[in-house]
Symmetry: D2
Subunit: 343 residues, 4 copies
């Protein structure tokens, strides 16, 4: 950490900082410039965090040098992690396709979507039983009934299930059905939910907050990790910007940046990023090329009657192109599509 | 609602939209332009919402004309609402000062902060017992013990208490102590929490999401209202932008905009917007002048040892200036400071 | 400046940085931490700027401690500046109202608008002869003919003129007519124009870029100052964010922040910030209360036939309220409306 | 166009809008809803643009349905355009690599960088003689001397030259040397420069404004096109967002979106987007996969002594990987690297 003293800081203000740091067991190196004095801090930065250095007299700024997360940091864990979801690996070397309906509506719709997904090369099934919706008047998901449908479709297709949980009180129930819990973009800083998910004994897919920095995203992952669960998959799903041509702005750079900062796998959601069916395939290609460890895609047998996000779902006629893309592009960039594996 | 057909839409695509609308009990007016055809929808827009018009063949865009919220809308409730918190009014005609420590740390610190607040003109006490923190390693609040401290300080000072709730499972407990529940910026779209707060029988202060639009903010208020609680106070607390000179960018225009769209009172948090003590008073003045129904301010007897957000808390020497401001400026713009009232 | 070495930096990488700094006449203080080494630089930061420290092997980050601008910095010039425009002061202690039509359309429209402005308390006339428009098919202004109209209206009303220049080739001509040159938000980093304006011998009003940081805005002012012109008025006019309820998001905090960083006066444009007539008065009140040295407002005698930005112009019936506001609110916050002064 | 009347609009307000539209030669279709009336406009939208509909009494909102640009629109020109730069094609079917130094510093540095670029597969040379810099104290480019160096290197390598122009007064001179003029992100709405470039008789590469919407970008292209020049290459170079881990946020979706809206080729600048050398190759891969018609990359023989943007330049050891990428990935997605062609 570096403490930058204000121009008007006195010698005693500087000494106060030095004393605080030393009392906390650290070392303080003072560099006196013409206009400003800076104090370099050496030692355990967690302890410095409790000193409220920014609130001290004469302190202009405090600059953190090291990352505030530890368990998910690649600095402390250089090898990249592979997370296994019902036996399906997500991580370096492979490209895993997760697909399914945005929302579970009926047994038939879910099964049809799962079969579409499987034909395209998907090895994991996505599908929402609990839907966080901006409007209280919109379809909120089937709840527990939706979870049962997902379990039935898993039994029929052999695809492990990824499904969202939106309330800490539901974590236990959802974890009984899901192979991986999904935390959505509106809940990325719902810390109670993160902690509950961290204790549920299942892998967790953590979407980036729509206005969350990469650092905040990793801090949210740290909340999960701190409860003893390091089976976390990060999912970039677009951030909120001034541009309205797309629903969100896919931050494609976030994939390599997060992979350098963290050992966790990073996947991309091209459906919710663009919010437009015609962008799903190009963005999937971009995600694979940039190095994403997987993609998660909405498919729907009848998007014109979908209860949620129909306009972004791939339909039957898109699937051949998707299948070709995920079977050829990963190889062109040195990886392989994750194929069905024995659980 | 207006449906804009894509340039390549066929006559049968147009007819499909018309039929869907009519089946839902609405009327559809078709205007055929040179390049595009538009269909104007007349009728109950809630019903149209379930038609998935955007997912139909040949539909280019669907433009909503009316607001998606109802209960909190001013269109349906032209008179602005006054919310009473333990007897203290927030709403048109007055300017209510809410102040106190960001986090409850000790009985003495909380009492000292409350007395500072009261001397400045505050009639409501703020203070957090549950703190949502970006880092799992940061101070998370005293929890239930903090609530008891707040209740003791209320007994001693007579100030009703505003305090945050971050988990739906805690709502019942917090509502036993609080005079107004606070929902923070990270939970603005935590719908389970909004619904629980809507059922708790206490007024709710709803902060705007740090990247939430004004419309989304009102939709979140609608979630609370839908559970039967219209005692909602909206709080603008700065949005996330590219500018890093301030912690957030106070969207001062949001105050009059929200007041025109909704009948609910709108207050401003100048402490968390700027994140800098030297900006609290100028931003408080701006908030009063723009027409805010109140302001909520951090004060701390010893900010250099604060466990949370010390750098933005007002200190003893600022209070005289704050007191002068809140006693003169509201009058200059046609309102009056809310004075202590019998509960 | 502080150089943060990467975790993998070698001793020779550190030594390379130290040598570079010392060769440039500076001193380098090395603090070796557990994970990272930091090097504090003391000396002339302008020289360090040419060392390309960020490009050296083993360097993780370079953190600037001092502001990159000098001439406009308050650190080097603590007293706030008063800029005189045709004899009318803008700066501390006063609140100057600048008003007039967005675009000069006809002699009569301009004169009527000027008289409206004057009745409201304005002492400076705004009006555009050159209009930067997003569309090549929109009205681009009257050009030189518009300048002559402005000069005629000045002669008739005694109001000095503020008008925009959009092309370095026009600066000389515009400076013959204008009392203050205006640089618009799309040209804030048009450095050729900034330099030409800096040499024109007239005060310059510099709008903030719609996505410019406060630091970049001050750097643009530095471009003007570097050509020998310190008569610069900064104008906050809203920034681009995700919120679409207003045309731009007025960054009201930018006023006190810029006033602390720079000695230059800072004014606010409430018309272009909100882009809505109903927000002009509330935002004007906020600007005055936060401490702005002036406001610049669109007025139009017949906004329904305005060729540019009609929906945001104040009309006759608003003027009484504006006049009351600018005559009472500045006093309530310790300043006075700038009254007409002898030129 | 659709005019949405305000809830309080009277019958005479509606009639006024209808009359205005009809007088301008259009047709107006009125749909009366429960809360709102909408008026659908059919006819020449350019004429409607001058009616100031938004400024009329009782008008709540005016919604544009068709794009405001014409010449660059794909709706009017469905086939995608190939732009030839000194004989090198940029457009559908190929992937063109443009590379070279950010700034021209010396003849030797420029030649070395060009040879590096050529070895990697580049067929066009980039290099700046005029540099727009945020700070007036930073290196501003060699100017005319730099142009001569570029011409010499072109003679030696056969690579046509792409170089930036920042001032309308320099367009004629730059056009004598350049094979394609570059307009930078800070000048995307410098309309005088756009018009001058449109008249220079050379292809123009137009970067997206760092806070420009895709629509504004296309409107800026329309300014160039309107002067008779349709040889325009659009360049996505990252937008400004809240995320600071990268210099800008590469909006990868903008490539397919712009290609659907416009017939012009769209390329990507992965160097300036990320601002980090370690991101250049992943972002190049993403750009190729998403369908970009080319990429433009900074290379430098000695980035540690570069006068501009050294930290983002590729160096010798990166080139083999770049060469492999541009020779294999385009084929995997159905395109081919543009090879050297006879001029």
């Amino acid at each position: 950490m570096v403490v930058v003293m204000a121009p008007e800081a006195t010698e005693s203000d500087i000494q106060n900082v030095v004393t605080l740091v030393e009392t906390a067991g650290g070392e303080a190196f003072v560099s006196r410039g013409v206009n400003r004095t800076i104090v370099g801090l050496v030692g355990d930065s967690t302890r410095f965090g409790t000193l409220n250095l920014r609130g001290q007299r004469g302190v202009g700024d405090v600059i953190r040098i090291t990352a505030p997360y530890k368990l998910v940091s690649r600095e402390n864990h250089p090898e990249r992690t592979v997370v296994h979801v019902g036996g399906v690996p997500i991580g370096p070397g492979t490209m895993t396709l997760i697909a399914g309906p945005c929302a579970v509506e009926t047994p038939d719709q879910t099964l049809q979507a799962a079969l579409m997904a499987q034909r395209s090369g998907a090895t994991l099934l996505r599908g929402g039983a609990y839907k966080p919706r901006t409007s209280p008047y919109a379809f909120q998901g089937l709840g527990a009934a939706g979870l049962k449908i997902l379990a039935d479709v898993r039994a029929e297709t052999g695809m492990p299930v990824v499904t969202e949980v939106v309330d800490a009180r539901d974590v236990e129930l959802v974890a009984q059905y899901a192979d991986m819990l999904q935390i959505g973009t509106r809940n990325t800083q719902n810390f109670a939910l993160l902690q509950a998910a961290g204790e549920a004994g299942k892998p967790v897919m953590l979407k980036r907050g729509m206005s969350g920095t990469i650092e905040e995203w990793l801090m949210s992952a740290e909340y999960i990790a701190q409860r003893g669960n390091l089976d976390i998959v990060l999912c970039e799903r677009g951030i909120r910007t001034f541009e309205k041509a797309t629903r969100n702005t896919l931050d494609i750079s976030a994939v390599p940046v997060a992979q350098r900062l963290s050992h966790l796998p990073v996947i991309v959601d091209p459906s919710h990023s663009g919010g437009r069916r015609d962008l799903v395939l190009p963005l999937t290609a971009a995600a694979i090329a940039v190095g994403a460890d997987g993609v998660i895609i909405d498919v729907h047998p009848h998007p014109e009657s979908a209860l949620c996000d129909g306009p972004q779902a791939l339909v039957d006629t898109d699937l051949e192109e998707l299948a070709a893309l995920v079977r050829t592009l990963p190889q062109a960039v040195g990886r392989a599509l994750t194929e069905v594996v024995a659980v």
